[in-house]
C-alpha cells in the first residue's frame, strides 16, 4: 500500500534559524496536505497542494510540491517559539477510488530554543 515517509523525525533549532521537513510518497499523489499538531493538541490543517511543481507561501512558511507529485517540503524561515509542534504531511493517492483516504507521514517534531 501507499507509504509516506517524512524526514527528519526530530529537529531542534535556535529561535531565528530556518527549518525544513521533507515528505516522500511511494506512489504518485493527487494532492498533498500539511498539518501542524501542537503538544497535547489535534492536527490543524495548514495547506493543500494540488499541481505539479506548485509553491505556496503563508507568511514565514513555504510549501512545495514536487514535479513528479511524489514529494513535498515545508520550509519555515526564522523560526519562532510559536512554531513548536509536529508537522505532518498527508497524501491522497492518485487514481485511487477513495477520495478521502489520506496517508499521513510519521511527522517531524520541531522544538525551538529561545
Amino acid at each position: 500500500g501507499q507509504q509516506v515517509m517524512q524526514i527528519p523525525q526530530y529537529q531542534h533549532v535556535q529561535e531565528g534559524e530556518d527549518f525544513t521537513t521533507y515528505c516522500n510518497s511511494s506512489t504518485t499523489l493527487s494532492n498533498i496536505q500539511w498539518y501542524k499538531q501542537r503538544p497535547g493538541g489535534h492536527p490543524v490543517f495548514l495547506i493543500q497542494l494540488v499541481k505539479s511543481g506548485e509553491v505556496k507561501k503563508q507568511k514565514r512558511l513555504t510549501f512545495q510540491f514536487g514535479e513528479a507529485k511524489k514529494n513535498s517540503s515545508l520550509h519555515i524561515t526564522a523560526t519562532q517559539t510559536t512554531d513548536v509542534g509536529t508537522y505532518f504531511c498527508a497524501g491522497l493517492s492518485a487514481g485511487g477510488t477513495s477520495y478521502g483516504k489520506l496517508t499521513f507521514g510519521q511527522g517531524t517534531i520541531l522544538t525551538v530554543h529561545p
Binding site: N31, Q33, Y35, G41, H42, P43, V44, F45, L46, I47, Q48, F88, A90, S98, Y99, G100, K101, L102, T103, F104, G105, Q106, G107
Partner: protein, 112 residues
C-alpha cells in the same frame, strides 16, 4: 458549532467492554473521517463517509470496529470487546469534498 466536537474526551474501558465514540462534524461538511493515532505517530486512516454513505472502511483494523453516520451528520465509532491494543487517541475530522480536513480534539481511549 464552531468546530468538530468529540465525546467523551477520555474513556477508560476494561478489556472486553464495548465502547462508543461520538463525533459532531462542522455543519455542512459532507465528508467525515475517523483516524487512530498512537503516541508519537501520525494519524492512521480508519474510515470515511460522504454524507451517510461509508465509502471506504479499509482502515478498520478488525470486525470489532464499526462506524456509522445514519443521517449524514453525527457519527459514532463503536469498538466491541475492546483489547489493550485498541488504546489510542481516536480522531474525527470533517471537510468539504476534496478540501483540507478539520479535526476534533479526539477521544483518548485507555483499555485496562
Amino acid at each position: 458549532g464552531a468546530g468538530v466536537s468529540q465525546s467523551p474526551r477520555y474513556k477508560v474501558a476494561k478489556r472486553g467492554q464495548d465502547v462508543a465514540l461520538r463525533c459532531d462534524p462542522i455543519s455542512g461538511h459532507v465528508s467525515l473521517f475517523w483516524y487512530q493515532q498512537a503516541l508519537g505517530q501520525g494519524p492512521e486512516f480508519l474510515t470515511y463517509f460522504q454524507n451517510e454513505a461509508q465509502l471506504d472502511k479499509s482502515g478498520l483494523p478488525s470486525d470489532r470496529f464499526f462506524a456509522e453516520r445514519p443521517e449524514g451528520s453525527v457519527s459514532t465509532l463503536k469498538i466491541q470487546r475492546t483489547q489493550q491494543e485498541d488504546s489510542a487517541v481516536y480522531l474525527c475530522a470533517s471537510s468539504l469534498v476534496r478540501f483540507g480536513q478539520f479535526f476534533g480534539p479526539g477521544t483518548r481511549l485507555t483499555v485496562l
